[in-house]
């Protein structure tokens, strides 16, 4: 199965890239856009169908490498 990891900056951490996107959208005339936050998506092909085991394993990967938990949060989704 495929695991999809979303890594985003924590609330309260200033996101200068998100801010720049927000300003650029405004410059292009898109109204009504509030705060923009930029993150990352990481897809992992896993050699298992056991979602619970995979969640634990990918969580461990996030803690050790995929996210920097000082500044980032992560969430994990699965796809077939």
């Amino acid at each position: 199965m495929k695991a999809i990891v979303y890594v985003t900056l924590k609330n309260g951490v200033l996101d200068p890239q998100g801010k720049a996107i927000e300003h650029a959208l405004d410059g292009l005339g898109f109204d009504g856009v509030g705060e923009v936050r930029q993150g990352k998506v990481i897809e992992l092909e896993l050699d298992t169908d056991d979602q619970d085991a995979a969640r634990a394993q990918v969580g461990d990967m996030c803690e050790k490498l995929l996210a920097n938990t000082v500044i980032e949060d992560y969430s994990i989704d699965f796809a077939d």
Binding site: L14, P16, L65, V70
Partner: protein, 229 residues
């Protein structure tokens, strides 16, 4: 003093670092490849600047998981001095040897210019040859130098004298205008609690010779030789 400079794929300041250390030590430090799993007997380990692993994932993130870093973490716990400059500072935070993280510069631009820094704290290993409050000049060259930590961590760093260098003007005054990258509390470099690990974004190794136009970095390396010999 016995010193080693660790080289990662994408490091590019190791030669400048070797030159600066050689000038102060009178002998060349050892260059050590990041795949090594054992380190020789060293008094100083240096993680140089550059773009290790092309800054993939996060600056310093891949290098911090290199085989050699387990040894660096172990040696640091034994009290060996560790200096990380620029990408080396990013590695030290990623490896958990220093608190906080280095984020994209506030301006989103790569910054390459000289900056003024005020010597903060009273560290005998790294800043023994400077006086507290002294204003010095080092170059910066980075895209991710915006130091971030939560307020509690920042208070602790300041309270324990762990802030080593702050961005300032020629009079030693720090402000948002003078801060080049948006770093929290104008922080340019920090020590660990024990004071044997220093991470800093500016490059002391690039202000050590008359030809550099400034020799303010020389005292850092001379001070290391004096403290660790």
């Amino acid at each position: 003093m016995k010193a080693g400079v660790i080289v990662f794929p994408g490091s590019n300041r190791e030669v400048d670092m070797v030159d600066a250390l050689t000038q102060s030590m009178g002998a060349a430090p050892e260059l050590i490849w990041h795949r090594e799993t054992e380190l020789p007997d060293l008094d100083l380990i240096v993680l140089p600047g550059g773009f290790s692993y092309g800054d993939y994932l996060r600056s310093g993130a891949m290098a911090a998981r290199s085989p050699v870093m387990k040894e660096v973490v172990r040696k640091a716990a034994d009290g060996v001095a560790v200096l990380g400059v620029c990408n080396g500072f990013q590695m030290l935070t990623e490896a958990g040897l220093l608190p906080g993280a280095l984020m994209r510069n506030r301006s989103l631009k790569f910054i390459c210019r000289n900056v003024h820094l005020k010597i903060d704290g009273d560290n005998k290993i790294f800043s023994g040859k400077y006086s507290a409050g002294q204003v010095i000049n080092f170059p910066v060259a980075h895209h991710d130098g915006n130091y971030f930590a939560d307020d509690e961590t920042l208070d602790q760093l300041e309270g324990e004298g762990q802030v080593g260098f702050r961005y300032c003007d020629t009079d030693g005054q720090s402000s948002d205008t003078i801060n080049p990258n948006g770093s929290a509390r104008h922080i340019a470099g920090i020590f660990n609690k024990r004071g044997n690990v220093l991470g800093m974004m500016p490059h002391p190794e690039n202000h050590v010779e008359a030809l550099h136009g400034c020799t303010d970095g020389r005292a850092l390396f001379d001070g290391l030789v004096e403290a660790l010999s």
